[in-house]
Symmetry: D2
Subunit: 307 residues, 4 copies
């Protein structure tokens, strides 16, 4: 009956996600884990100070891996955002650092007996999701990265702004790496009953593609982190699991034909990836996706060498 969710890493994203979960009463029991014990205890107490004014009960456990044994979902939001700031905003710049933490956290999760769904936000997310899968030993379906779910949201926002429509009324996806090699799969984007390619010139499509990729950079360089958009993506993904919603969404999931985790739509439910979708992409899109997969694999290899 209890709904239990763990969040590992109470930085900007982790704390914002925990706030979202407390406000939306997504679970009964939150387990918060961070190497900065003072910070995570402070956040936990701060959340408890909300209850008298919101009325929703909140049970929080701090820094106890054993409490994750029966968690439904664990979200990894650990990272060191400063590494990106110093490295021209390539998310792979974080890999040598985060990979060490991820290996340890993966082992600790495995030792805890955790057998739910692991949602990965930690960057570079496609590589890190793979690492987690290896070190937790969980089935590939139960380890999911937020992938291009946020980039897709940014693409939809860019389209929606131009057409005065709700972003949720735009369908379609960004595919591939949650990073610089991703792209909008224009063949899949529809809005107002039309293929997007009927509505915009190639120049305009390029501008939207750029915005969906660089949207994160604009946010990033305004405050040197991003939190609200990515937390909303992670919240939605965690809800799809905990509610067994069987929603289709583009997330980082393992695609055997590419030999890597990458952003691609799937049906998400209580067991994690319930079904992989097969899109009918154009030849150009297939090439871009292959290139993006190669980039993920190459950068993962290099990043781990430097770790």
């Amino acid at each position: 009956m209890t709904r239990k969710i763990g969040i590992i890493g109470l930085g900007h994203v982790g704390a914002t996600l925990a706030h979202s979960m407390v406000l939306k009463h997504t679970c009964d029991h939150l387990v918060l884990i961070d190497t900065n014990e003072k910070k995570v205890k402070s956040d936990a107490l701060d959340f408890c100070d909300m209850v008298a004014n919101t009325g929703y009960p909140v049970h929080i456990t701090v820094n106890d891996y054993a409490a994750l044994q029966d968690a439904d979902v664990v979200v990894s939001t650990l990272g060191n955002i400063e590494l990106q700031a110093n490295n021209t905003n390539d998310r792979f710049a974080e890999l040598p650092f985060t990979s060490k933490q991820v290996v340890q956290v993966g082992r600790d999760l495995k030792a805890s007996g955790f057998h739910g769904v692991l949602v990965v936000v930690t960057n570079p997310v496609d590589a890190v999701t793979q690492l987690y899968q290896q070190y937790t030993g969980l089935p590939k379906e139960q380890v999911i990265g937020t992938g291009t779910l946020l980039d897709t949201a940014r693409m939809k926002r860019a389209v929606a702004d131009r057409l005065q429509v709700n972003p949720a009324s735009v369908s379609g996806y960004n595919l591939g790496e949650h990073g610089n090699s991703q792209f909008v799969a224009w063949s899949q984007v529809r809005v107002k009953g039309h293929a997007i390619t009927d509505l915009f010139s190639q120049e305009e499509l390029d501008a939207i593609n750029y915005e969906s990729l660089r949207g994160g950079h604009t946010v990033f360089f305004g405050k040197f982190y991003t939190n609200f958009g990515i937390a909303a993506a992670a919240q939605r993904l965690a809800e799809a699991v905990i509610n067994d919603s069987h929603e289709e969404m583009p997330v980082s999931n393992y695609r055997p034909e590419y030999g890597t985790y990458l952003g691609y739509p799937a049906i998400v439910g209580r067991k994690g990836i319930v079904e992989r979708i097969d899109l009918q992409l154009t030849e150009e899109e297939k090439e871009k996706l292959l290139h993006s997969a190669e980039t993920i694999k190459e950068n993962t290899r290099k990043g781990l060498e430097h770790a």
Copy 2:
């Protein structure tokens, strides 16, 4: 028909409150104002990146006082939390700094034609609420500080923890300054059908009183700011206004018999303070409240001299 809310100051509290309002869809139109234009624009874009995943539309205007002319509620969350860290955590340490900003913001609000309800979170909140009332020229009923609403939540949490009950099932209030001279009015606290004084020894009551006051310090020194608890208090107060809920809650409101704003229960609705409550306090409590009122007035005078 449109529900419009302004937030002035997108620091830890302002950004957390804006996040809460976006998640709870408290309003249709958010106006965000901050002197750090890059930061506030970054936050605004980050909020827009949530929409495709939440489905709720968000309209955000940045740094435009004119847009506040027809706002229903404006919340002041500006401040410089580092000033507290350097000054033994006395909220009055912020006054010389914030008072200058508050005077300017008050004048800008007045010039905008804003005539809704101003909710003040900026510390020292009782003094700053008074300053805002003077410089905006709004009726006293339309300028409200969060006051001891957060301290009361902390008291209820401390009581609730001891009795294994929901904090919302504890009634009663902390009164006076949102600061070191506040106190729990034990004569008003009831839980499980009993006066709290029947359930705990004086020693234990002192411990609860200390926790409700120092709770903020524990949170503060863990991360050098507090945001979630105070944002939940401000959210509840803003909702009471925008929903015309006529809830009773302890907030900083002007009490003529004390000649100052201070934390004391009132009925809150669309017009702000709809009715002042009159409690039947013990003689000791009356003295403490008088002392707290004097402290607010004295510190306000001193703080403004140093401004």
Copy 3:
């Protein structure tokens, strides 16, 4: 600032919709109107008995057209469902009866000075929406019928059941009359990254089409009314207006090329129909739509003759 919604007709659908609005706190002020004064007063009091347990304030006005002058949205749910039961479930069987009420209500709304958006649920909805537009004198964009929004939901449910996916992850629409001449526009239905026609045989598509049309009949003959599905459709439509959400949804809107109101996707916002969509239908679909439009016009003419 106040959000005011009127509901005319507190039968099964009207009462269920009001319940939904109270639970979701869609508005601050509900105006409930019904010719059975005892019933509507009873419902109003029953809603007020919810408040102590939900905490949300509810303001309700009963049977006062003058209170609709500044309403944001009015929903017409009046009707006499027994007329359908006696007439082989053709929604046009209600027209001779409801048309008389609709003319009077339209005039009363006009006299009240109401100038918001009128949402029509009353059957036969396409004909009644047109009548309301004529008698209120509101712009065509401000009078909207729920149309095939419910039928589309039924189609999505039928598709979703077969594919183990969330109905909200199915895109596409039922078009035309909210009645027996409607049809699923298969060219527009996509799910799991595929055109629906790639996934199902014609036989299976026919079965889904039948279910989406007859789904209502199954519900109807189980309890001799339908309320939950249609109330959810009306709730979503009213929310799109009051939140200015600019969502795309298939609703009954006036299409000049067909000379009638009928179910067809549009962008909905605060002003009602913000934009008409133009679909790229197949020739067969175009013919079906033309036929459905003719059916609506013919049945409307006949129904009014018998009124």
Copy 4:
């Protein structure tokens, strides 16, 4: 992880409660049981037709007691409201009829292996709760009636109307039978910082007491059933269990000193009645409560004789 709730009896109250649970997404899995199979299947399908427009997944099982084996909460809303209409609105008029059903349902629940919390709405609720406890063999703490939770809401509404305050800002309770022998325990009612007895004359208190008792009658005789207020009470009680909220609320729970179930405040959580409260009542209130307890026991005895 799954949250499963059963509702037995899909009449006015059961269907309204199910609607509330679907709208608030209180659980993942609803089990609906009714002797009128056509009606309950119709309701189930009608709820599924909501999903495409609300986005929340709903899993519904119909008429399968075995599915209740691992339910968290089961709510009994069965009854025959027409029996009240013919019997001067005494809820005990339903006992000879409902007691037979209750015995059978109690046995079926026991046979299913259900071991969660049983919430009883069926009237006469205090008697029926006791019967359910006997026939299910569940611990007394796990069988709870809505009792005077609704009457208390009506009392708070009557007080709130007079004082222009939110009903949720009134504290206190109606005690005893959910029926004619109940009473407001004035010694416990506080509002705006005062004992209610300081604010109203005895005459006015009598009027409020009458309204809180007769409020149900006014609703009842306007539509010959009541549903919204009682469904909100049952929803809150079920949420307190499923969220383990440890809220205090007046519900029908077994009090050994009176030898019966009756309306009296208790702390409610996942295990049901987590703690019994002991109020400090006046002598007059103690006598009224004793009288109400005797009435419940006497009427239960008589009603069962006629069954």
